[in-house]
């Protein structure tokens, strides 16, 4: 697929611009280098590519006509929301159209009685909760990027947040996605009831990284704001103890509103940035939140505290008011930008593992820090085993970038080896595509491709992302094979 695009006539650009200008006003079709440059990467800035053309539709009808035109000209299309993605999902195609949904940023309807909001894909995640706040409602999934990321991007990545342990991921909080196929046809997945006839394609479209259809309108569920929330900040002298404590809380039948962990290097980096007053001597900090009615929270905090104490926490602080709660959270929420201050670049991984393997994986990461000579602070969603190790490096040094990629690759493979997945919430994109060859069998990858073709016969929507070709896997396998041995023959297939 990719090869045929590479051979396209460069005059394609002129043809594409002409076709798009017949649909969109001229300021909504960008093709000069200085105009397309801002779109060259998403949040994974180590990978860059200038798009051939950028199209900025304003409504559903324009999206549909643009897609139809792209199909006619056989142009690959990469949808883009806010460009905060961390796996290169919105990385442009050099011979294709970058379809920015940024102009479609209106909240179309908000019904506080039905507790739903119907929004355009470019609406920012936090804007929905802001609009719902006067009614005591909010949109639950809260990625740390929520002030910037778009709901269309959230749908495409099935994003989570620190509260998704209790309130679910995007897939659990979206009722309906209206989307446009590459043929320019509008299709509704789900509806404003709790289910829809036919196969549950709403679930299939969630997390599909812009490869099946372009979301043009999304109905989200709004849920009542809990009356109150309090968080426990627990300190541990050992990372593994903290990991086990997280598992113990869950084992006690408690589903905290949030259960997050930071190791010492991460704590030190964020403390410098937010001044939350964290204990810098702790090997790990655990944030464990309870929400609900005041009585309920009091009961639950007592139960949580008992479990954490039994699990070896040496210090506790329980937020006494909302300001303090937000202060305790501030460091965890700002972990990524804080890394940006102590290192020119950081590379965020996203493997998710069974909680009981946490200690083992953390030791493995520490060994990799030594092996590759790179620092790697850890923050993670401890409650659901979703790790975000952050490799610190300098992208201007190609040698460091190479080491970073190798480091990251080993951690992803370790995640698979312990029975987890290469990505919990950031998506495969371009970044983890090779490891897909390890996580899935050739038959499974073939089925993924068939699923794509069921929506997009010509494979024009975000091609070459997420699902590797078997050819690519063969190449990757060759690189990996040592002494005639397949890599990780012991890998469990699940």
């Amino acid at each position: 697929m990719n090869e045929s695009f590479r051979l396209l006539d460069p005059l394609r650009q002129t043809a594409a611009v002409k076709a798009l200008r017949a649909i969109l006003p001229s300021d909504a079709v960008l093709y000069q280098r200085e105009d397309t440059k801002p779109y060259e990467c998403d949040g994974l800035s180590a990978y860059r590519e200038l798009p051939m053309v950028v199209a900025l539709p304003q409504n559903e009808d324009e999206v549909s006509r643009v897609l139809r035109a792209c199909r006619q000209l056989k142009l690959p299309v990469v949808a883009r929301g806010a460009g905060t993605g961390l796996s290169g999902g919105a990385l442009p195609h050099a011979k294709g159209v970058l379809l920015s949904l940024a102009k479609m940023n209106r909240i179309l309807a908000l019904d506080p009685v039905a507790r739903i909001a119907r929004v355009q894909p470019g609406v920012r995640n936090l804007a929905i909760s802001d609009a719902a706040a006067p009614y005591g409602l909010y949109y639950a999934p809260d990625p740390s990027s929520q002030i910037a990321c778009s709901i269309g991007g959230n749908v495409a990545e099935n994003s989570g947040g620190v509260h998704c342990l209790k309130y679910g991921l995007t897939v659990h909080n979206v009722l309906r996605v209206r989307a446009c196929t590459i043929e320019g046809e509008l299709v509704e997945f789900g509806n404003e009831a709790l289910d829809a006839p036919g196969l549950d394609l709403l679930a299939l479209v969630m997390g599909s990284e812009g490869m099946l259809a372009v979301a043009t309108e999304i109905t989200v569920k709004l849920v009542p704001k809990p009356q109150t929330a309090r968080v426990i900040l627990a300190a541990f002298d050992d990372v593994e103890k903290a990991g086990n404590a997280a598992a113990a809380v869950i084992a006690a039948g408690i589903i905290p509103a949030g259960l997050e962990m930071m190791d010492q290097p991460a704590t030190r980096a964020v403390e410098e940035y937010v001044h939350a007053g964290y204990d810098l001597d702790a090997a790990a900090l655990l944030l464990c939140e309870s929400d609900g009615t005041a009585e309920e929270v009091e009961d639950e905090i007592a139960r949580m505290t008992a479990v954490l104490k039994d699990s070896g926490a040496y210090d506790f602080r329980i937020s006494q008011n909302e300001a303090e709660r937000l202060k305790f959270w501030s460091g965890r929420k700002a972990a990524f930008p804080a890394m940006g201050r102590i290192s020119p670049d950081y590379y965020c991984m996203d493997g998710t593992i069974p909680r009981k393997r946490l200690g083992e994986v953390l030791r493995f990461i520490a060994a990799m820090e030594k092996k590759y000579g790179l620092r790697c602070p850890n923050v993670f969603h401890a409650g659901d085993g979703n790790l975000h190790p952050l490799i610190l490096f300098d992208a201007n040094d190609p040698e460091q970038l190479r080491r970073t990629e190798a480091f990251a690759g080993e951690v992803l493979e370790k995640s698979i080896a312990v029975g987890g997945t290469v990505t919990g919430e950031h998506g495969v994109g371009i970044e983890k595509i090779n490891q897909m060859c390890l996580q899935f069998t050739p038959d499974e990858l073939e089925m993924f491709r068939a699923v794509k073709r069921a929506f997009d016969t010509d494979e024009l929507l975000n091609p070459d992302k997420n699902i590797p070709t078997l050819h690519r896997c063969a190449e990757f396998g060759r690189m990996h094979v040592e002494g005639g041995q397949l890599p990780h023959p012991e890998l469990p297939r699940f």
């Binding site: 289910d195 196969l199 394609l201 679930a203 039948g253 009585e295």
Partner: protein, 354 residues
């Protein structure tokens, strides 16, 4: 057990070669559901047993033929549950059938549906290939999410071999209340309460009586009781009542009229049809025992923003499921082709062309 899989795969391959339909079936408790049953029987009960259960990971993996009752008993012993409270509709219900039917019970309004708890599906496709999708962890976005759509697929895409489900803890406490309310007031109150942080985990309105179940911390239940009022129902009686709603053994369901399952937005006004109604899921699910013609019922559902399923009826000629929009129907056909190129799995159970 691997031999059983090999046998199933063989049966699938030869059916595909001969283009002869297969009828995937567990306990047969949901034979009544869906359009016609066609093809040679493939009994999933031979592949049975719990593969793995780790309470602290909140995940259980079971083979398709495992009795649903067995799975639930194992979970209960560890203080966990299938939070979507699936109906069994008979003693022989299996785990595979529960997922394939995709039906959820009273707690769905608070906890989510079957699909929300599916983490991994291992399946045999129409080529007899053994495939696994999803991840044994709480979060996984590697590849397309092929596992959740298996919930409710009615066996049209493949034979579900194993499924891993997320299994949350049982609530610390429960209480059931009864209030007298006419339908419009009941709907208004359900939507009003839905917007408040109240621990309502189930509701059922019929014949002017609204029954509510509260689940959670004792203190939260107490506070909700004070806010809602109503008359408490004793625990044992309440358990039996909710079982009746879930299993359709409540007197409401012993009707000889066609039973419609109307899935509509919770704020949809009362549906104006003759016959009896039972409302669940905060107003989003309305059971209609009604002889009106299918067309007008489906139109009313569509007008309200939902859809109507002819859930139980002697005569299904009006079609069980609401027809799909053409663009959506095309994607369905393409997916069917991808999973089951010979068209052998439960043909016509969902739609005549699937």
């Amino acid at each position: 057990m691997e031999q059983v899989i090999a046998r199933y795969a063989g049966q699938i391959r030869s059916a595909a070669a001969d283009k002869k339909p297969l009828r995937l079936r567990g306990g047969g408790t949901k034979d009544f559901y869906g359009q016609g049953l066609e093809g040679e029987l493939l009994d999933t009960r031979a592949y049975t047993g719990i593969v793995a259960y780790e309470p602290t990971e909140l995940v259980i993996t079971a083979r398709c033929g495992t009795p649903l009752a067995e799975l639930e008993a194992v979970l209960r012993a560890e203080g966990q549950q299938l939070a979507f409270e699936p109906p069994h509709f008979g003693a022989g219900a299996t785990v595979g059938g529960m997922v394939a039917a995709g039906l959820s019970g009273p707690r769905r309004q608070a906890a989510g549906a079957v699909r929300d708890f599916v983490l991994v599906v291992r399946m045999l496709d129409g080529r007899g290939d053994d495939l696994s999708f999803g991840g044994q962890v709480m979060k996984n976005v590697a590849g397309y999410d092929v596992s959740r759509p298996m919930a409710g697929s009615l066996g049209t895409l493949g034979l579900i071999l194993e499924v891993s489900l997320k299994v949350p803890p049982l609530p610390f406490a429960e209480a059931t209340l009864k209030l007298e309310l006419p339908q419009d007031k009941a709907l208004a109150m359900l939507n009003h309460w839905g917007g408040k942080p109240l621990p309502i985990s189930a509701c059922a309105w019929t014949g002017g009586e609204l029954v509510l179940r509260l689940s959670g911390a004792p203190s939260a239940i107490e506070a909700a009781r004070a806010a809602i009022g109503g008359e408490p129902i004793a625990a044992e009686q309440a358990t039996a009542y909710w079982r009746g709603i879930r299993e359709h053994t409540d007197p409401f369901f012993s009707t000889d009229k066609p039973l419609w399952r109307m899935s509509v937005p919770s704020v949809a006004p009362p549906l104006e049809f003759p016959g009896e109604q039972l409302i669940e899921w905060g107003g989003s699910l309305r059971w209609l025992a009604c002889k009106a013609d299918a067309r007008s019922i489906r139109e009313a559902a569509a007008q309200a923003g939902g859809h109507g399923t002819l859930f139980r009826a002697a005569d299904k000629s009006a079609g069980v499921f609401t027809p799909l929009q053409p663009a959506l129907a095309k994607i369905h056909r393409n997916l069917k082709q991808a999973f089951d190129p010979a068209g052998i799995f439960n043909p016509g159970r969902m739609y005549s062309d699937l």
